[in-house]
Symmetry: C2
Subunit: 348 residues, 2 copies
């Protein structure tokens, strides 16, 4: 797999956009994180200004064989039920997508169900794993071929969508387990620092989850390269997302990362092609244990921190207006000169 992603190293553009920001009618750097965000978006778009077009909020959904081990507080059927709820417009992410005018696509990457056709649904099941992964405590979650198919599906899907922004979301009972396994193996951190309560495990459930995941890690001790880790321990929605992330970065789209699971996909993608990180805006820090630590290890600063642990792309959708603000402030704020406002006194 060859992934060619342009590094954002246009220093002349960086300098001229920063100059533009510094000459807006405000004390220097007083818009804080929004200034760095505006600069990043401009560099991604290789332009003095930012134009956000037709943002796509894509929810990657799949089921997980490891749920047979009792690692989640909710039964596996909830994945399909929540996909139905998203399509019907009643999920949190449905509400937030409507609020912000985000196009919403739900991708069936391997949900344990077959859905009736729907304008917001894209079916991208993988041959041999149509209804979810295998149980990674027993065998690899996906075969290498299945994993590569899922990545190819993600690339094809993204390529078919309009716009220049991809907002990541996911749904899959059991996927905090897959993400925690990926985190532990990729970062080398012990499992207990990577595993959280997911949808709401109690203490006993959490201990059982850690013990179960440790068995999966032990079984796949040889899975150390990103693609092997993804296949052995990951999920179909995570693999499909990896493909979408690659394609988005190749096409110079802005990628808005949601919580713990989408960070797993980004981390795998970045382990293969580090430049993808330059295209990522980290929307929020999840309350799922491990996410803050993982963000730190990726040198990522999330925009918001509201104690969310819902997934679905809810954090990405909530952060979206901040990207829009960065675009508009860069385009519409007056400069000191144009507004006739005095600059800082020379002697204070």
């Amino acid at each position: 797999m060859t992934i060619e992603i342009t590094r954002l190293n246009n220093t002349a553009l960086r300098k001229s956009v920063q100059h533009r920001i510094d000459n807006k009618t405000k004390p220097l750097a007083s818009l804080g994180r929004l200034e760095a965000l505006a600069l990043q978006l401009a560099l991604i778009q290789n332009s003095e200004t930012v134009t956000l077009i037709s943002p796509q909020l894509v929810i990657f959904a799949a089921d997980h064989g490891i749920t047979a081990q009792g690692v989640s507080a909710y039964p596996s059927e909830v994945t399909a039920q929540m996909v139905g709820n998203m399509l019907a417009g009643g999920a949190a992410v449905s509400v937030l997508a409507r609020q912000h005018g985000l196009a919403l696509t739900i991708v069936d990457c391997g949900v344990k169900a077959d859905f009736a056709p729907h304008s917001n649904l894209s079916v991208r099941k993988v041959s041999g794993a149509r209804y979810g992964t295998a149980d990674s405590t027993i065998t690899q979650a996906m075969t290498p071929t299945q994993c590569e198919s899922a990545i190819a599906n993600g690339r094809a899907l993204l390529n078919s969508l309009p716009g220049n922004v991809l907002l990541l979301g996911e749904m899959g009972i059991g996927n905090t387990s897959a993400a925690a396994l990926i985190m532990s193996r990729l970062t080398g951190l012990p499992l207990h620092r990577c595993v959280g309560r997911g949808t709401g495990l109690d203490d006993d459930g959490l201990n059982r989850k850690i013990e179960t995941l440790q068995r999966a890690l032990n079984l796949h001790i040889d899975a150390t390269k990103p693609m092997s880790i993804l296949a052995a321990l990951g999920g179909l929605e995570i693999a499909t997302m990896v493909g979408a992330i690659f394609q988005a970065a190749i096409e110079r789209r802005i990628i808005v990362v949601d919580g713990f699971i989408t960070t797993a996909a980004v981390a795998i993608a970045a382990a293969i092609a580090p430049a993808v990180l330059e295209y990522c805006v980290f929307a929020h820090c999840s309350a799922e244990s491990g996410h803050a630590l993982w963000l730190t290890s990726l040198s990522a600063s999330p925009l918001i921190d509201l104690g969310l642990r819902l997934g679905e792309g809810s954090g990405a959708a909530l952060a979206w207006p901040l990207l829009k603000s960065a675009e508009l402030l860069l385009a519409e704020m007056a400069s000191f000169e144009s507004a006739g406002v005095a600059e800082k006194s020379i002697s204070q």
Copy 2:
């Protein structure tokens, strides 16, 4: 002055709204801070649901006599210039108000200028202090009568505005000095923990500012009650804002607090009528030194933290979509029952 503000102690309503939130299709508490926000907004509106109507972003502007002591990096004239920039639509807050459909009113509470009439301008100058406060290092910033007039102006202004949400903003070169003086006197904290760089003082400027403000504190050693503190050390925009806050809480409007200066007005108002705090949503934590500490002392948890230190109501405007999300999630998310989604397993 009698301020009658209804306490938000409807425990039956609190219970039923919390029940409503808990039955939405999401893991319990997984929407984090948004859930507490939705509950607070419902309690303010005394209703099972939240309906945000015609939000008013009001920028209180005035000049400060203490700028003669060189406490700001920008000259006093910038207050009037920035009011002009706001009215012309080129300030950060103009851009953000347009983005979010917030009605914008700039209030001349005592700016050192006279403005041509404008549909977004409300002139609420105070007799004897039409062009700003006196220098609080020499005399009291306002006489008690001027201070009371400013508060009455704020109440009348708010009463004339439609809607059920007030978003606070301010503009006034020198007003981080007034706010720091109020903070130090109200909280008892030493001045160096309350004073920051404002629009961008260097180290020498900061030391001079602290030394200057210490002289003002020493001069007004007898100003210990909230109204005396406000008159002796405050500003016309802060006093007018105190009136607006009172009136908003009396009318059960939601109050969205911006940064350091607006927190000064809220703190004065709360020292007089503590129940106002129940109506306040703290939008963000400013990078202005002292703000985080002050929020903590008010037991306030800001929604966002983006290192902003611009004022103008920019933080309040940026947090606005989160209030809107809370409204919509409460209204539009499906319940487990309505969506046919399985609830948490009994055995995990």
